[in-house]
Protein backbone atom coordinates (compact mmCIF):
# COMPACT_ATOMS: atom_id res chain seq x y z
CA UNK A 1 0.00 0.00 0.00
CA UNK A 2 1.39 3.37 -0.97
CA UNK A 3 1.42 6.30 1.41
CA UNK A 4 -0.61 9.43 0.75
CA UNK A 5 0.97 12.47 -0.88
CA UNK A 6 1.53 15.34 1.59
CA UNK A 7 1.18 18.93 0.37
CA UNK A 8 1.63 22.28 2.11
CA UNK A 9 -0.52 25.08 0.69
CA UNK A 10 0.76 28.47 1.81
CA UNK A 11 0.22 32.14 1.18
CA UNK A 12 3.30 34.30 1.56
CA UNK A 13 3.25 38.03 2.08
CA UNK A 14 0.60 40.65 2.59
CA UNK A 15 -2.25 39.09 0.69
CA UNK A 16 -5.53 38.31 2.39
CA UNK A 17 -7.30 36.57 -0.48
CA UNK A 18 -7.27 32.85 0.10
CA UNK A 19 -10.37 31.61 -1.67
CA UNK A 20 -8.20 30.15 -4.43
CA UNK A 21 -5.77 28.52 -2.01
CA UNK A 22 -8.64 27.03 -0.04
CA UNK A 23 -10.27 25.76 -3.23
CA UNK A 24 -7.06 24.06 -4.31
CA UNK A 25 -6.55 22.62 -0.81
CA UNK A 26 -10.08 21.27 -0.73
CA UNK A 27 -9.86 19.78 -4.23
CA UNK A 28 -6.58 18.06 -3.45
CA UNK A 29 -8.10 16.69 -0.24
CA UNK A 30 -10.91 15.22 -2.30
CA UNK A 31 -8.32 13.74 -4.64
CA UNK A 32 -6.89 11.95 -1.59
CA UNK A 33 -3.90 14.05 -0.53
CA UNK A 34 -3.06 15.12 3.01
CA UNK A 35 -3.02 18.91 2.91
CA UNK A 36 -1.49 21.22 5.47
CA UNK A 37 -2.93 24.71 5.26
CA UNK A 38 -1.26 27.50 7.23
CA UNK A 39 -3.45 30.48 6.43
CA UNK A 40 -2.77 33.95 5.07
CA UNK A 41 0.05 36.47 5.54
CA UNK A 42 2.93 34.09 6.13
CA UNK A 43 6.60 34.98 6.07
CA UNK A 44 8.86 32.96 3.77
CA UNK A 45 10.72 31.79 6.90
CA UNK A 46 7.55 30.39 8.48
CA UNK A 47 6.50 28.66 5.26
CA UNK A 48 9.92 27.06 4.75
CA UNK A 49 10.03 25.83 8.36
CA UNK A 50 6.52 24.38 8.03
CA UNK A 51 7.40 22.59 4.78
CA UNK A 52 10.44 20.95 6.34
CA UNK A 53 8.85 20.08 9.70
CA UNK A 54 5.82 18.58 7.95
CA UNK A 55 8.07 16.68 5.51
CA UNK A 56 5.81 17.45 2.56
CA UNK A 57 6.24 16.19 -1.00
CA UNK A 58 4.87 19.38 -2.56
CA UNK A 59 4.71 23.01 -1.55
CA UNK A 60 2.06 25.12 -3.27
CA UNK A 61 2.42 28.91 -3.01
CA UNK A 62 -0.44 31.26 -3.77
CA UNK A 63 0.00 34.98 -4.33
CA UNK A 64 -2.39 37.58 -5.70
CA UNK A 65 -0.60 40.69 -4.53
CA UNK A 66 1.99 40.94 -7.27
CA UNK A 67 4.94 40.21 -4.97
CA UNK A 68 5.51 36.69 -6.33
CA UNK A 69 8.84 37.53 -7.97
CA UNK A 70 10.25 38.44 -4.60
CA UNK A 71 8.48 35.99 -2.31
CA UNK A 72 8.40 32.69 -4.24
CA UNK A 73 12.17 32.47 -4.90
CA UNK A 74 12.86 33.45 -1.29
CA UNK A 75 10.71 30.56 -0.03
CA UNK A 76 12.47 28.08 -2.33
CA UNK A 77 15.87 29.30 -1.15
CA UNK A 78 14.95 28.91 2.53
CA UNK A 79 13.36 25.49 2.01
CA UNK A 80 16.55 24.20 0.40
CA UNK A 81 18.70 25.74 3.15
CA UNK A 82 16.67 23.89 5.78
CA UNK A 83 17.27 20.59 4.01
CA UNK A 84 14.05 20.21 2.01
CA UNK A 85 15.90 19.20 -1.15
CA UNK A 86 13.20 16.98 -2.68
CA UNK A 87 10.19 19.22 -2.12
CA UNK A 88 8.52 20.11 -5.43
CA UNK A 89 7.41 23.76 -5.34
CA UNK A 90 4.54 25.06 -7.45
CA UNK A 91 2.81 28.41 -7.60
CA UNK A 92 -0.54 29.93 -8.42
CA UNK A 93 -2.45 33.18 -8.37
CA UNK A 94 -2.26 36.26 -10.50
CA UNK A 95 1.11 35.80 -12.13
CA UNK A 96 1.79 37.39 -15.52
CA UNK A 97 3.09 34.98 -18.17
CA UNK A 98 6.24 37.06 -18.60
CA UNK A 99 7.25 36.22 -15.02
CA UNK A 100 6.94 32.47 -15.50
CA UNK A 101 10.41 31.74 -16.94
CA UNK A 102 12.16 33.61 -14.13
CA UNK A 103 10.13 31.79 -11.49
CA UNK A 104 10.78 28.43 -13.15
CA UNK A 105 14.46 29.21 -13.09
CA UNK A 106 14.24 30.05 -9.38
CA UNK A 107 12.90 26.58 -8.64
CA UNK A 108 9.13 27.04 -8.91
CA UNK A 109 8.57 24.00 -11.09
CA UNK A 110 4.95 24.60 -12.09
CA UNK A 111 2.75 27.67 -12.28
CA UNK A 112 -1.03 27.57 -12.50
CA UNK A 113 -2.75 30.73 -13.66
CA UNK A 114 -6.37 31.79 -13.11
CA UNK A 115 -8.87 29.44 -14.75
CA UNK A 116 -6.62 26.39 -14.64
CA UNK A 117 -8.87 23.32 -14.39
CA UNK A 118 -8.26 21.47 -11.13
CA UNK A 119 -7.74 18.28 -13.13
CA UNK A 120 -4.56 19.85 -14.57
CA UNK A 121 -3.17 20.50 -11.10
CA UNK A 122 -4.04 16.98 -9.95
CA UNK A 123 -2.40 15.49 -13.04
CA UNK A 124 0.84 17.39 -12.35
CA UNK A 125 0.81 16.24 -8.71
CA UNK A 126 0.22 12.64 -9.78
CA UNK A 127 3.02 12.71 -12.34
CA UNK A 128 5.60 14.28 -10.06
CA UNK A 129 4.89 12.41 -6.83
CA UNK A 130 7.59 10.24 -5.25
CA UNK A 131 7.35 6.60 -6.29
CA UNK A 132 6.07 5.48 -2.88
CA UNK A 133 3.26 8.06 -2.65
CA UNK A 134 -0.12 8.45 -4.34
CA UNK A 135 -3.47 10.23 -4.36
CA UNK A 136 -6.66 8.22 -3.80
CA UNK A 137 -6.32 4.96 -5.75
Amino acid sequence: MKRRIRILIAKPGLDGHDRGAKFVARSLRDAGAEIIYTGIRQTPEAIAAAAVQEDVDFLGLSCLSGAHNRLFPEVVKLVRELGGQDIVVFGGGVIPKRDWPGLNEAGIRFIFGPGTPMSDVIAVIRENAPADAELAP
Partner: protein
Protein backbone atom coordinates in the same frame (compact mmCIF):
# COMPACT_ATOMS: atom_id res chain seq x y z
CA UNK B 1 17.58 6.70 -1.23
CA UNK B 2 17.10 4.74 1.96
CA UNK B 3 18.33 6.69 4.97
CA UNK B 4 20.56 4.97 7.48
CA UNK B 5 18.67 4.60 10.81
CA UNK B 6 21.79 5.32 12.84
CA UNK B 7 22.41 8.53 10.94
CA UNK B 8 18.79 9.54 11.45
CA UNK B 9 19.03 8.88 15.19
CA UNK B 10 22.15 11.01 15.30
CA UNK B 11 20.35 13.69 13.34
CA UNK B 12 17.45 13.60 15.81
CA UNK B 13 19.83 13.96 18.76
CA UNK B 14 21.59 16.83 16.96
CA UNK B 15 18.16 18.44 16.64
CA UNK B 16 18.34 18.61 12.87
CA UNK B 17 14.80 19.57 11.82
CA UNK B 18 14.93 17.70 8.55
CA UNK B 19 16.13 14.49 10.24
CA UNK B 20 13.39 14.76 12.88
CA UNK B 21 10.76 15.37 10.19
CA UNK B 22 11.92 12.48 8.03
CA UNK B 23 12.15 10.08 10.97
CA UNK B 24 8.51 10.85 11.80
CA UNK B 25 7.48 10.16 8.19
CA UNK B 26 9.40 6.90 8.08
CA UNK B 27 7.58 5.56 11.13
CA UNK B 28 4.18 7.06 10.31
CA UNK B 29 4.24 5.74 6.71
CA UNK B 30 6.08 2.47 7.44
CA UNK B 31 8.76 3.41 4.96
CA UNK B 32 11.75 1.06 4.61
CA UNK B 33 13.78 0.90 7.81
CA UNK B 34 10.90 1.93 10.08
CA UNK B 35 11.21 -1.05 12.40
CA UNK B 36 14.82 -0.48 13.43
CA UNK B 37 14.16 3.24 13.80
CA UNK B 38 11.16 2.52 16.03
CA UNK B 39 13.33 0.24 18.16
CA UNK B 40 15.97 2.96 18.52
CA UNK B 41 13.32 5.49 19.55
CA UNK B 42 11.72 3.01 21.97
CA UNK B 43 15.00 2.37 23.77
CA UNK B 44 15.37 6.01 24.68
CA UNK B 45 14.21 6.65 28.26
CA UNK B 46 11.74 9.49 28.13
CA UNK B 47 11.95 12.43 30.48
CA UNK B 48 9.84 14.90 28.51
CA UNK B 49 6.28 15.54 29.64
CA UNK B 50 3.49 14.68 27.19
CA UNK B 51 0.53 17.02 27.58
CA UNK B 52 -2.67 15.87 25.88
CA UNK B 53 -5.28 18.40 24.76
CA UNK B 54 -8.70 17.14 23.79
CA UNK B 55 -12.17 18.61 23.32
CA UNK B 56 -14.93 19.25 20.83
CA UNK B 57 -14.27 20.78 17.37
CA UNK B 58 -13.95 24.54 17.69
CA UNK B 59 -13.44 24.53 21.46
CA UNK B 60 -10.01 26.11 21.03
CA UNK B 61 -7.60 23.19 21.38
CA UNK B 62 -5.11 24.55 18.85
CA UNK B 63 -5.36 28.07 20.23
CA UNK B 64 -4.80 26.72 23.74
CA UNK B 65 -1.80 24.71 22.50
CA UNK B 66 -0.47 27.91 20.96
CA UNK B 67 -0.99 29.87 24.20
CA UNK B 68 0.61 27.14 26.35
CA UNK B 69 3.54 27.06 23.93
CA UNK B 70 4.00 30.83 24.34
CA UNK B 71 4.05 30.34 28.10
CA UNK B 72 6.76 27.67 27.98
CA UNK B 73 8.76 29.58 25.37
CA UNK B 74 8.86 32.55 27.73
CA UNK B 75 10.59 30.17 30.14
CA UNK B 76 12.97 29.21 27.34
CA UNK B 77 11.70 25.64 27.00
CA UNK B 78 11.63 23.94 23.61
CA UNK B 79 8.13 22.79 22.73
CA UNK B 80 6.98 19.99 20.42
CA UNK B 81 3.42 19.82 19.11
CA UNK B 82 1.68 16.90 17.43
CA UNK B 83 -1.69 17.95 16.05
CA UNK B 84 -4.17 15.44 14.64
CA UNK B 85 -7.00 16.22 12.23
CA UNK B 86 -9.40 13.76 10.62
CA UNK B 87 -8.90 11.92 7.34
CA UNK B 88 -11.80 11.81 4.90
CA UNK B 89 -13.66 8.48 5.05
CA UNK B 90 -14.32 8.93 1.33
CA UNK B 91 -11.08 10.00 -0.34
CA UNK B 92 -8.62 9.27 2.47
CA UNK B 93 -7.42 12.85 2.04
CA UNK B 94 -7.25 15.39 4.85
CA UNK B 95 -7.02 19.09 5.57
CA UNK B 96 -4.63 19.60 8.45
CA UNK B 97 -5.37 23.10 9.71
CA UNK B 98 -4.14 23.17 13.30
CA UNK B 99 -0.95 25.00 12.33
CA UNK B 100 -3.12 27.93 11.32
CA UNK B 101 -3.74 28.74 15.00
CA UNK B 102 -0.10 28.40 15.94
CA UNK B 103 1.32 31.21 13.85
CA UNK B 104 3.04 32.93 16.77
CA UNK B 105 5.61 30.16 16.66
CA UNK B 106 5.96 29.62 12.93
CA UNK B 107 9.62 29.87 12.10
CA UNK B 108 10.79 29.50 15.72
CA UNK B 109 13.33 26.64 15.53
CA UNK B 110 12.65 25.79 19.17
CA UNK B 111 9.05 24.91 18.38
CA UNK B 112 8.44 21.85 16.22
CA UNK B 113 4.89 21.39 14.95
CA UNK B 114 3.83 18.24 13.14
CA UNK B 115 0.34 17.76 11.70
CA UNK B 116 -1.00 14.25 11.30
CA UNK B 117 -4.09 12.78 9.64
CA UNK B 118 -6.09 10.27 11.66
CA UNK B 119 -5.96 7.78 8.76
CA UNK B 120 -9.03 5.82 9.71
CA UNK B 121 -8.33 5.59 13.43
CA UNK B 122 -11.36 6.33 15.59
CA UNK B 123 -9.75 7.05 18.96
CA UNK B 124 -8.94 10.72 18.28
CA UNK B 125 -5.27 10.20 17.42
CA UNK B 126 -3.31 9.16 14.32
CA UNK B 127 -1.76 5.68 14.21
CA UNK B 128 1.78 6.91 14.97
CA UNK B 129 1.03 9.84 17.29
CA UNK B 130 2.83 8.39 20.32
CA UNK B 131 5.89 7.53 18.27
CA UNK B 132 5.97 11.02 16.78
CA UNK B 133 5.84 12.51 20.27
CA UNK B 134 8.67 10.18 21.32
CA UNK B 135 10.84 11.35 18.42
CA UNK B 136 10.22 14.99 19.37
CA UNK B 137 11.15 14.15 22.97
CA UNK B 138 14.34 12.52 21.72
CA UNK B 139 15.15 15.75 19.87
CA UNK B 140 14.97 17.64 23.15
CA UNK B 141 11.47 19.06 22.93
CA UNK B 142 9.92 19.17 26.41
CA UNK B 143 7.00 19.38 26.84
CA UNK B 144 5.41 17.73 23.84
CA UNK B 145 1.79 18.79 23.37
CA UNK B 146 -0.52 16.26 21.74
CA UNK B 147 -3.70 17.68 20.28
CA UNK B 148 -6.46 15.23 19.35
CA UNK B 149 -8.97 15.56 16.53
CA UNK B 150 -12.10 17.43 17.60
CA UNK B 151 -13.75 14.76 19.68
CA UNK B 152 -17.31 13.78 20.38
CA UNK B 153 -17.97 11.52 23.33
CA UNK B 154 -15.82 8.44 23.03
CA UNK B 155 -12.40 9.27 21.56
CA UNK B 156 -10.20 8.43 24.51
CA UNK B 157 -6.87 7.21 23.01
CA UNK B 158 -5.01 10.28 24.21
CA UNK B 159 -5.13 9.03 27.80
CA UNK B 160 -2.83 6.16 26.89
CA UNK B 161 -0.22 8.52 25.43
CA UNK B 162 -0.26 11.70 27.53
CA UNK B 163 0.95 12.13 31.10
CA UNK B 164 -1.76 14.67 31.72
CA UNK B 165 -4.93 15.26 29.70
CA UNK B 166 -6.51 18.70 29.40
CA UNK B 167 -10.19 18.51 28.56
CA UNK B 168 -11.26 21.72 26.81
CA UNK B 169 -14.90 22.69 27.26
CA UNK B 170 -16.80 25.74 26.06
CA UNK B 171 -20.07 27.34 27.17
CA UNK B 172 -23.26 26.44 25.38
CA UNK B 173 -22.68 22.78 24.61
CA UNK B 174 -25.57 21.22 26.47
CA UNK B 175 -26.83 20.96 30.01
CA UNK B 176 -25.36 19.56 33.20
CA UNK B 177 -26.13 15.95 32.30
CA UNK B 178 -23.49 16.15 29.53
CA UNK B 179 -20.83 16.66 32.17
CA UNK B 180 -21.88 13.45 33.89
CA UNK B 181 -21.62 11.15 30.93
CA UNK B 182 -19.05 8.41 30.50
CA UNK B 183 -16.29 8.51 27.92
CA UNK B 184 -14.40 11.65 27.06
CA UNK B 185 -15.53 13.54 30.18
CA UNK B 186 -13.89 10.87 32.34
CA UNK B 187 -10.41 11.14 30.85
CA UNK B 188 -9.74 14.78 31.67
CA UNK B 189 -7.14 15.21 34.40
CA UNK B 190 -7.60 18.97 34.20
CA UNK B 191 -10.60 20.80 32.81
CA UNK B 192 -9.99 23.94 30.81
CA UNK B 193 -13.13 26.01 30.36
CA UNK B 194 -12.12 28.05 27.36
CA UNK B 195 -13.83 31.07 25.79
CA UNK B 196 -14.53 32.23 29.34
CA UNK B 197 -15.44 35.66 27.97
CA UNK B 198 -18.58 34.18 26.44
CA UNK B 199 -21.96 34.13 28.18
CA UNK B 200 -22.65 30.96 30.12
CA UNK B 201 -19.08 30.43 31.23
CA UNK B 202 -19.78 30.73 34.94
CA UNK B 203 -22.67 28.35 34.63
CA UNK B 204 -20.38 25.84 32.88
CA UNK B 205 -17.89 26.26 35.72
CA UNK B 206 -20.58 25.49 38.29
CA UNK B 207 -21.77 22.46 36.34
CA UNK B 208 -18.33 20.96 35.88
CA UNK B 209 -17.49 21.53 39.54
CA UNK B 210 -20.75 19.91 40.55
CA UNK B 211 -20.13 16.92 38.30
CA UNK B 212 -16.61 16.44 39.68
CA UNK B 213 -17.86 16.72 43.25
CA UNK B 214 -20.48 14.07 42.51
CA UNK B 215 -17.70 11.74 41.44
CA UNK B 216 -16.12 12.19 44.85
CA UNK B 217 -13.51 14.81 44.01
CA UNK B 218 -13.70 17.26 46.91
CA UNK B 219 -10.59 19.07 45.71
CA UNK B 220 -11.99 19.66 42.24
CA UNK B 221 -11.33 23.41 42.26
CA UNK B 222 -7.63 22.70 41.66
CA UNK B 223 -8.49 20.81 38.47
CA UNK B 224 -10.76 23.33 36.76
CA UNK B 225 -9.53 26.46 34.98
CA UNK B 226 -11.15 29.27 33.05
CA UNK B 227 -9.22 30.60 30.05
CA UNK B 228 -9.47 32.95 27.11
CA UNK B 229 -6.82 31.22 25.01
CA UNK B 230 -6.87 33.83 22.22
CA UNK B 231 -5.56 36.38 24.76
CA UNK B 232 -3.50 33.97 26.85
CA UNK B 233 -5.73 34.68 29.84
CA UNK B 234 -5.64 31.93 32.47
CA UNK B 235 -2.87 30.04 30.72
CA UNK B 236 -0.15 30.46 33.41
CA UNK B 237 -2.63 29.00 35.90
CA UNK B 238 -3.16 25.99 33.64
CA UNK B 239 0.61 25.45 33.39
CA UNK B 240 0.92 25.61 37.18
CA UNK B 241 -1.98 23.17 37.40
CA UNK B 242 -0.17 20.76 35.07
CA UNK B 243 2.94 20.81 37.25
CA UNK B 244 0.89 20.36 40.42
CA UNK B 245 -1.01 17.45 38.86
CA UNK B 246 2.13 15.69 37.68
CA UNK B 247 3.83 16.28 41.03
CA UNK B 248 0.92 14.87 42.98
CA UNK B 249 0.76 11.66 40.99
CA UNK B 250 3.51 9.22 41.72
CA UNK B 251 7.19 8.86 42.40
CA UNK B 252 9.54 9.20 39.43
CA UNK B 253 10.13 5.45 39.40
CA UNK B 254 6.41 4.72 39.28
CA UNK B 255 5.96 7.31 36.57
CA UNK B 256 8.71 5.73 34.47
CA UNK B 257 7.21 2.27 34.91
CA UNK B 258 3.79 3.49 33.91
CA UNK B 259 5.25 5.25 30.86
CA UNK B 260 7.06 2.10 29.80
CA UNK B 261 3.94 0.04 30.14
CA UNK B 262 1.84 2.51 28.17
CA UNK B 263 4.49 2.81 25.52
CA UNK B 264 4.57 -0.94 25.03
CA UNK B 265 0.80 -1.12 24.97
CA UNK B 266 0.90 1.49 22.20
CA UNK B 267 3.29 -0.70 20.21
CA UNK B 268 0.94 -3.67 20.60
CA UNK B 269 -1.84 -1.37 19.44
CA UNK B 270 0.16 -0.33 16.42
CA UNK B 271 0.83 -3.96 15.54
CA UNK B 272 -2.89 -4.75 15.82
CA UNK B 273 -3.65 -1.81 13.53
CA UNK B 274 -1.18 -3.13 10.95
CA UNK B 275 -2.66 -6.61 11.19
CA UNK B 276 -6.16 -5.21 10.67
CA UNK B 277 -4.96 -3.51 7.49
CA UNK B 278 -3.28 -6.71 6.43
CA UNK B 279 -6.42 -8.74 7.12
CA UNK B 280 -8.41 -6.29 5.01
CA UNK B 281 -5.95 -6.64 2.14
CA UNK B 282 -6.02 -10.43 2.49
CA UNK B 283 -9.82 -10.45 2.50
CA UNK B 284 -9.88 -8.49 -0.73
CA UNK B 285 -7.49 -10.93 -2.35
CA UNK B 286 -9.00 -14.08 -0.83
CA UNK B 287 -11.87 -14.52 -3.23
CA UNK B 288 -14.16 -15.05 -0.22
CA UNK B 289 -16.23 -11.93 -0.84
CA UNK B 290 -19.78 -12.66 -2.01
CA UNK B 291 -20.11 -12.08 -5.75
CA UNK B 292 -23.40 -10.21 -5.52
CA UNK B 293 -22.24 -7.94 -2.69
CA UNK B 294 -23.44 -9.14 0.72
CA UNK B 295 -26.06 -7.48 2.89
CA UNK B 296 -27.18 -9.82 5.67
CA UNK B 297 -25.61 -10.87 8.95
CA UNK B 298 -25.86 -14.59 8.16
CA UNK B 299 -24.04 -13.97 4.91
CA UNK B 300 -21.33 -12.03 6.77
CA UNK B 301 -20.86 -14.94 9.17
CA UNK B 302 -20.62 -17.37 6.26
CA UNK B 303 -18.05 -15.15 4.49
CA UNK B 304 -16.07 -14.67 7.73
CA UNK B 305 -15.95 -18.44 8.30
CA UNK B 306 -14.78 -19.00 4.74
CA UNK B 307 -12.19 -16.25 5.09
CA UNK B 308 -10.79 -17.73 8.34
CA UNK B 309 -10.53 -21.14 6.67
CA UNK B 310 -8.73 -19.49 3.76
CA UNK B 311 -6.30 -17.79 6.17
CA UNK B 312 -5.56 -21.06 7.99
CA UNK B 313 -4.84 -23.02 4.84
CA UNK B 314 -3.08 -20.23 2.96
CA UNK B 315 0.57 -20.87 2.19
CA UNK B 316 2.72 -18.06 3.57
Amino acid sequence: MQPDPEMLVRGIRDRNQQAVARAISIIADRRPGWESLLDAVGKEPRTATFIGITGAPGSGKSTLADAITSFYRAGNRRVGIVAVDPSSPFSGGAILGDRLRMQDHAGDPDVFIRSMASRGRLGGLAPATAETAAILAMAGYDPVIIETVGVGQSEVDVMSVADVVLMVLVPGNGDSIQALKAGVMEIGDLFVLNQADRPGSDRLLAEVNAALRLSGDEDCLSRVFQTVATEGRGVPEVATGIDAFLGSLQSDAEKAASRRERQFLRLVNLAVHDMTDEAFEAYRKSGCAPTEGGTSWSEAVRVATGFLDWLRTRPN
